[in-house]
């Protein structure tokens, strides 16, 4: 299929983009286009106007900012994977992004686009929630910083206002003994996961002091499972107990490839797989 008609506007700078977005509530931002264009081509979406922000300079910066790693919204998945500052400060990012689509898609798809889109099956929103990241948005009234756990409201729904644009994400630098571990199950390398888990762990394999579990491709947004994490810390890995706990904590939503029952099973097994990756 082909996209319906829309007008195209190449934004000159951030203010220009904010102004158009504020005045046309059926306009949408075009960043890497790797989620938006499939939706347009399939006519799942028919906005009046696309505001192309991909050529705005300065929005793809990656740097250490105080106690955080800042990734600019327009940094592509490939940029982030090849960046030394990211590699040194957040080594899990490479392994995670390797599972996001395929190289030609990662050459265009952006970090900010993935965060802003809020696809429940996407890895980065779950990573942002698991690491307590802050999402920086810019609008008519200036910038605001939103904690990732408050950013995601539901299926493709975020707290971002019509006049706002994501400009970057701040990930707190890892503390000593802290590790981010990740795994997912998918049908083909690079496809969206059937279920995935990002764990934020303090301690070592035999001595876990703190554990945060955030699942993706399970419900309508990144699913935090604090109760199950506590149970796992107290009792160790027990498939039946953890499965039972997850079933009360997450509203599993089945899709074409996997039923909600299957996702519940995969999520439970993922806890074991992820914990086994920790060093002793």
């Amino acid at each position: 299929m082909k996209a319906a008609h829309f007008s195209y506007h190449e934004a000159l700078n951030l203010q220009d983009a904010i102004k158009i977005k504020a005045h046309d509530d059926e306009s949408v931002i075009l960043a890497g286009g790797q989620s938006l264009l499939p939706a347009l081509n399939m006519r799942l979406s028919s906005p009046t106007c696309l505001i192309d922000i991909s050529k705005i300079s300065g929005l793809n910066e990656i740097k250490i900012d105080g106690q955080t790693l800042f990734i600019g919204a327009l940094a592509t998945h490939s940029d982030v994977m090849n960046n030394k500052t990211v590699k040194n400060n957040m080594p899990c990012m490479f392994d995670i992004l390797k599972m996001v689509a395929h190289p030609a898609i990662r050459n265009k798809g952006t970090h900010g686009g993935s965060i802003a889109y809020g696809d429940p099956a996407a890895e980065l929103p779950a990573l942002a929630v698991a690491t307590n990241a802050e999402i920086i948005v810019s609008g008519q009234n200036g910038d605001r910083s939103i904690n990732a756990k408050d950013f995601y409201l539901g299926l493709f729904e975020t707290t971002i206002n019509q006049d706002e644009i994501v400009v970057g994400i701040k990930y707190p630098l890892l503390k000593k003994g802290q590790k981010i571990v990740f795994d997912e199950v998918c049908r083909r390398h690079g496809d969206y996961a059937m279920a995935g888990l990002i764990a934020n762990v303090m301690g070592s394999k035999n001595d876990i002091k703190d554990l945060k579990l955030v699942f993706f491709a399970t419900g309508d947004k990144p699913d935090v499972a604090d109760k199950t994490a506590r149970l796992c810390l107290e009792n160790g890995y027990d498939y039946d107990k953890l499965k039972n706990s997850l079933s009360t904590e997450i509203d599993f939503a089945g899709d074409l490839n996997s039923s909600s029952e299957m996702k519940l099973h995969l999520a439970t097994v993922l806890i074991k797989k992820v914990l086994s990756k920790l060093e002793i």
């Binding site: 299929m1 082909k2 996209a3 319906a4 008609h5 829309f6 007008s7 195209y8 506007h9 190449e10 158009i20 005045h23 046309d24 306009s27 075009l30 286009g33 790797q34 264009l37 499939p38 347009l40 081509n41 399939m42 009046t48 106007c49 696309l50 505001i51 192309d52 991909s54 490939s78 689509a101 395929h102 190289p103 030609a104 898609i105 050459n107 265009k108 083909r188 390398h189 690079g190």
Partner: protein, 158 residues
């Protein structure tokens, strides 16, 4: 309403200049290229999944079904028709030798992905080659012959 339903852009395809051409805002790059005779760029899914439309934009592989023609302003594009340098001639010979072209529908995308693999200059195992081409569907070969061809290309280069 801001913006326009069509835009004027300039870019190059395989070194040929396209100056100030008018493209509809909603047209994706693959459709534009095909309309200009670059029919080696194939369209399978138009949603990024099959890889048949993969071309090179400013030195990087991209899905031309997921880039608007209007976004190509100022870009240097290379399609399969422009894969005529020494390295790509060798790649094509290896694909022929191993019978990695059957119906040919996936081939332009496979060649582009192979080019990116070779430019990265890494020695890959067969499993790694499979993971690198996981974004390109082939409905004929069963992939075996394509992996054979790419493996030989990598061995020749390293």
């Amino acid at each position: 309403m801001a913006g326009n339903n069509s835009v004027n852009i300039s870019f190059t395809v395989n070194g040929e200049n396209f100056n100030n051409v008018n493209v509809p805002s909603r047209q994706h790059l693959a459709d534009y290229l095909r309309s200009q005779g670059f029919t080696g760029t194939h369209l399978g899914c138009e949603q990024g999944a099959c890889g048949a439309c993969t071309i090179e934009m400013d030195g990087k592989a991209v899905r031309s079904c997921l880039v608007l023609a209007s976004q190509a302003n100022g870009a240097n594009l290379k399609t399969v028709e422009g894969f005529d340098d020494e390295m790509m001639e060798k790649v094509k010979q290896n694909f022929l030798k191993h019978n990695a072209f059957q119906c040919g529908f996936c081939s332009p995308g496979m060649l582009m992905t192979t080019k990116e693999i070779l430019l990265n200059k890494k020695k890959l195992t067969r499993d790694e080659i499979r993971s690198e081409i996981s974004g390109n569907y082939c409905r004929c070969t069963g992939y075996q012959s394509i992996v054979d061809a790419i493996e030989e290309c990598i061995n020749e280069i390293n």
